[in-house]
């Protein structure tokens, strides 16, 4: 892909995304905003996934962020915008502290622990009495930007851009080398001088921070948080399926998956009152079995195949002393 295209395509997409509120009615706009929320969550999930650790706890940090933002506004009269940042910070700090314990775990032990985390947070909040509003939850006196639909949408879009930026930092810097090395083989990574715990922690905190911010945005957009609503496993399931379908270990992948599945989700919700989530389960199963690298991964593979076809031409490789046998 030429340099020009690589800049042009994202620019066009972002421009289009910014302009959506001007061309859509209230319902499509709400759907689009919902897609953006899940898109940001999908990106945040992928960031940690790159280290080889699967988190089933997106809803946990999302919920913490929502409650942190709500409490900040209700108890300290913080400005809504600042409370969103605070939400991210709280989630990040919680992740940092928890990380010392749970980042020792690997694979399924880590994943099940994250699965349990959302439930733990929910129970703690639910039993938090008057402070957290108990089972009924918290209600904000007013919505951010007075609930103006366009503003809420752009706020979600800004969050997605933030998540993209973080994701790209992780893809372009030495973080990518560290996380990929850790994911593939920890012993080998160690022998390259990589401090595994440090990089896992960075990924975990970044991922959780984003999830907290997104939770804060959700809260400010709806003005309401209850244990059952914000810790709903929906917020874990959808981003996971989206990132998988779109293509894990990338930035464009979760974006693509979110658009596809996010729009489909709205349609399904209308057609199938109960159990429309079954589609997500089936998609996850099918993607893992048939297309684990996702749509973007397939695209990347094809690009690479085309590139290496060009490399096999004689003269492209410098002659080495030894005989080169294609194993």
């Amino acid at each position: 892909m030429t340099r020009a295209l690589r800049i042009a395509i994202p620019a066009i997409v972002i421009a289009a995304a910014v302009l959506i509120p001007f061309v859509s009615g209230p319902y499509p706009l709400a759907v689009a905003r919902s897609v953006l929320i899940y898109m940001a969550l999908a990106l945040s999930w992928d960031i940690l996934l790159r280290s080889g650790q699967i988190s089933f706890g997106i809803a946990g940090f999302f919920g913490i962020g929502a409650y942190a933002a709500a409490l900040a506004v209700l108890k300290t009269s913080m400005s809504p915008v600042l409370s969103i940042l605070g939400a991210g910070l709280v989630a990040g700090v919680v992740a940092f502290l928890l990380g010392f314990v749970i980042l020792r775990l690997r694979a399924v032990y880590f994943s099940i622990t994250t699965l349990a985390l959302a439930e733990i947070f929910r129970v703690i909040i639910q039993n938090g009495g008057d402070f957290t509003g108990g089972p009924e939850g918290l209600v904000l006196p007013k919505l951010i930007f007075n609930g103006e639909a366009k503003a809420l949408y752009w706020m979600a879009l800004a969050t997605v851009l933030l998540a993209c930026m973080v994701s790209m930092i992780f893809q372009r810097s030495k973080l990518r080398f560290a996380l990929t090395a850790i994911r593939n083989n920890e012993l080998s990574a160690r022998s390259s001088g990589i401090h595994i715990f440090k990089y896992l922690m960075i990924a975990f905190v970044a991922s959780s921070f984003l999830q907290g911010v997104i939770g804060g945005i959700q809260l400010q957009g709806y003005g309401f948080a209850s244990p059952d609503s914000v810790f709903d496993s929906y917020y874990t399931l959808l981003p996971l399926a989206m990132a998988l379908l779109g293509g894990i270990y990338s930035t464009p992948g979760p974006i693509l998956g979110a658009i596809l599945l996010g729009v489909a989700a709205e349609y399904l919700k209308l057609k199938i009152p109960y159990g429309h989530l079954v589609v997500y389960g089936i998609i996850i199963v099918l993607v893992i079995l048939l297309m684990p690298q996702g749509l973007f991964g397939l695209y990347r593979k094809r690009m690479k195949a085309r590139a290496s076809d060009g490399e096999r031409a004689p003269g492209a490789e410098r002659a080495s002393g030894a005989e080169v046998r294609h194993g």
């Binding site: 749970i102 099940i112 622990t113 349990a116 129970v123 039993n127 079954v278 997500y280 996850i284 893992i288």
Partner: protein, 323 residues
């Protein structure tokens, strides 16, 4: 031959000595707790044991899969849930008592488990572990949401007259039916232990669990072993599901917490330690019931398992540091 190190003679005694010491410690602690409960809050003890039985019964089939096929089936609880629904229809439509429906339900579930395994899980065995985890996660969602789709999220319950059976000891009156779970758990544990150590297939399965490549070399069909063990485990958890139906309410998401707790129990006991699962379940059941009985804190009992598993992890990782 150069003299082997003197330590080699003490391999057996060294390991078993420390294990014995540890078991004694936990045993005495457990005995103290049991006696204390007996005196202070006997209902908590009874309830705890009954709960423990249920957890153990669900966890033991997972121990089988984890120990031999080495995969974590995040859809484990959902298989139990499906079985419970099957038993429900057997009761409602065919008038079969769940204890009678247990066998056909278990058989159906075993076949179902085999099909699921052959279609999906089998293909991820060679892939990175990440794939299996996500796959079974997706399976669980697919199962629970399909049930949701077909039967809505309403919870259903049978009202069997024998589940209210109770006994009175002194001035203490308690339900006795729930001990059936403990009974099922013990039958499962003993049955599996015998199966794995006395039958030809069982021994082969153990071998596959310990060393798949070595087992293949001596002629054991590893693929077939995995498939049968998985199907067996699903059949067993299906049987548990049928028993589950007798007294519990069922709804599409009922299986989720049991998957988590089963995994925690199996992890705590150590992979392959079926008897250990019984004791760990006891610890979990008693802890939950103690918290439950403390006024005002009942809501926290559901996350006791989390505290226990975190504790186990910390202790294990500190022990590893010293090594």
């Amino acid at each position: 031959m150069t003299g082997p190190s003197l330590e080699k003679d003490s391999i057996v005694t060294d390991v078993s000595r420390s294990r014995l010491r540890r078991s004694l410690l936990w045993g005495t602690l457990g005995a103290v707790v049991v006696v204390a409960l007996l005196l202070w809050k006997p209902t908590a003890l009874i309830y705890g044991v009954q709960r423990a039985g249920l957890y153990a019964a669900v966890a033991i089939p997972m121990a089988l899969v984890l120990g031999i096929v080495h995969i974590v089936n995040l859809a484990h609880g959902e298989f139990m849930m499906v079985a419970a629904y099957l038993a429900y229809f057997a009761a409602r439509l065919l008038g079969l008592d769940p204890f009678i429906a247990l066998v056909p339900v278990a058989v159906v579930m075993a076949v179902f488990g085999l099909v699921v395994y052959l279609l999906t899980i089998k293909h991820t065995l060679k892939a990175p572990e990440l794939n299996q985890l996500i796959l079974t996660f997706g399976l669980g969602i697919a199962l629970s949401q399909t049930v949701n789709l077909m039967f809505t999220s309403q919870s259903w319950k049978l009202s069997l007259n024998y589940v209210t059976a109770s006994a009175t000891v002194g001035d203490l009156s308690f339900g006795v039916f729930d001990f059936v779970y403990a009974g099922v758990a013990i039958i499962l544990a003993v049955g599996l232990k015998l199966f794995l150590t006395r039958t030809r297939f069982g021994k082969a399965a153990l071998a596959v669990g310990q060393n798949p490549r070595g087992a293949a070399i001596v002629g054991i069909n590893v693929d077939r072993t995995y498939a049968i063990v998985f199907a067996l485990a699903v059949g067993l958890v299906g049987a548990v599901g049928s028993v589950f139906l007798t007294k519990q309410a069922i709804f599409p998401l009922v299986g989720g917490p049991y998957t988590m707790k089963s995994f925690c129990l199996v992890a705590m006991a150590g992979v392959g330690n079926i008897v250990g699962v019984l004791f760990c379940s006891l610890a979990l059941g008693l802890s939950e019931s103690i918290i439950n009985s403390i006024r005002g804190y009942a809501g926290w009992s559901n996350i006791v398992f989390f505290a226990i598993i975190i504790g186990t992890i910390l202790v294990r990782s500190f022990r590893e540091r010293k090594a």
